[in-house]
Amino acid sequence: MATIETPAGASQTMVLNMGPQHPSTHGVLRIVLELDGEIVISARPHIGYLHTGIEKNCENKTYSQAITLTDRLDYLAPLSNNLCYCLAVERLIGLEIPKRAQYIRVLLTELTRVASHLVWLGTHAIDLGAMTVFLYCFREREEIMRIFELVSGQRMMTSYFRIGGLALEPPPGWLERIARFMDTFPSHVDEYETLLTQNRIWLARTKGVGVLSREDAIALGVSGPTLRGSGVAYDVRKMFPYSSYEEFDFNVPVETAGDCYARYLVRVAEIRESIKIILQAMKIVPAAGPIRTEAPGIVPPSREEMKTSIEGLIYHFKIFTEGFAPPPGEVYQCIESPRGELGFFVASDGSAKPYRVKVRAPSFVNLQAVSKLVEGRLIADVVACIGTTDIVLGEVDR
């Protein structure tokens, strides 16, 4: 029988497989942990369990058809994905979007950010043992889902933003519905904060845990609240404004500690900033006006026009059978999604289908930093560190 020799003084390590079916990995993430007792020596994420070839599929659909695929990337923020893809294609063609559509886009993507941060806060809290916050967060998120359903007809896979504007006119009373939600929502955010911000258990589980230095964060390409928790004030909305964000007054919350608590503070502050943007957008969005730009052959004509004019009918038919062909070229468009810098690289060869679509998924890049966060820490902190990077496996694996 063979004997296993351990060098004198050396400790034995154990390999522990965490996931892919683990409640706190937020999907199907698998992490192989090497442990020395309770201390994590190394952590290696294994991804790809949700890989569905979305980028390959986009190459075989027309530009408009590909929008439905973008919903399925980051399924907690489908409207952010819609927006980024549409902006990329619009820039490729050179389309100007009516102001009304731009404001509605801003309003709805900020609501998306709030909904996404609420899911993050709720699941992060339940991972660390705070059940109440989870129930509260999902209560408010449910109301946002209902607003999305009212406006777009879908709770989650909205596909509401289209190339050239919006899919349909928002129904009457939609702004009142949002206003009613906004009346009570800020006080709910206070409610979450009273449960967590000064909570001793919460502080013990998050303060000083998973520290990411400013230099490491930049070197690893981390973006979004994870980067801003490490003291870098990089927000795409401010640095490269899109969709009229330059007209809105809001701050970019930054914390310097770089730990889980700092990222928590940044995200909660971001919810409040989003509320500010939503309230401003509700004031300036015109009650009536075009929701789509005029671009025959690219943007579908209105239902009315399609039914009554022969040009409208022809364009409608051509757009939905053949699609349209942008000029050859390539663009990289990025936006600030709830998770960070979401980018779409779209290359056209002059045909009706995108030649290449590449998604720069913020979760994919942020997940790289997880190994850095957990190494040298207790195994119990792994859950906190995964939760705090706010990954969505749909866009990690694509």
Partner: protein, 158 residues
């Protein structure tokens, strides 16, 4: 707009003054600047872009591989860089022949490139010399072929 234009030019100038051979071509499209770098100069150019005080492209956003099949050089790698200091974006483009799809890794310069390069290897079959751990990332380890190549059928091989 004028200042942005002149700044853009000064960035390219700076790169050309450093080594004119490292800049094969400059493409402007829809307000984006693309600098085409010959394959052998990539690593040097990357080091210069990060370390030069007047550039400081310390943030690597993304690496995108594009397959131009059947056009040669077949592959294109697009490095999307961001200078947080100067609020500036630039795209580095490297063209790679189809019969020898390899290029120097930039992971030692931008650690963020690690997974991006693994993805390009996994889905496009481009090899990165000097990468610390060049293994498949999205597809299973025993997968055959490179799914994002243009000659790979959408339904896969059956």
């Amino acid at each position: 707009m004028d200042t942005a234009e002149s700044q853009k030019d000064s960035f390219i100038q700076r790169l050309q003054e450093w080594d004119a051979q490292a800049v094969a071509e400059v493409i402007e499209f829809r307000g984006e600047t693309t600098v085409v770098v010959p394959r052998e100069h990539l690593r040097r150019a990357a080091e210069f872009l990060v370390n030069d005080r007047a550039l400081q492209f310390t943030f690597l956003s993304d690496i995108t591989a594009v397959d131009k099949f059947p056009i040669e050089p077949r592959f294109e790698l697009n490095y999307h860089l961001l200078s947080l200091e100067y609020r500036k974006r630039i795209r580095l483009k490297v063209r790679i022949p189809g019969d020898d799809p390899q290029v120097q890794s930039v992971t030692p310069i931008w650690p963020a490139a690690n997974w991006h390069e693994r993805e390009a290897f996994d889905l496009m079959g481009i090899r990165f010399e000097g990468h610390p751990d060049l293994t498949r990332i999205l597809m299973p380890d025993d997968w055959e072929g490179y799914p994002l190549r243009k000659d790979y059928p959408v339904e896969g091989y059956r």
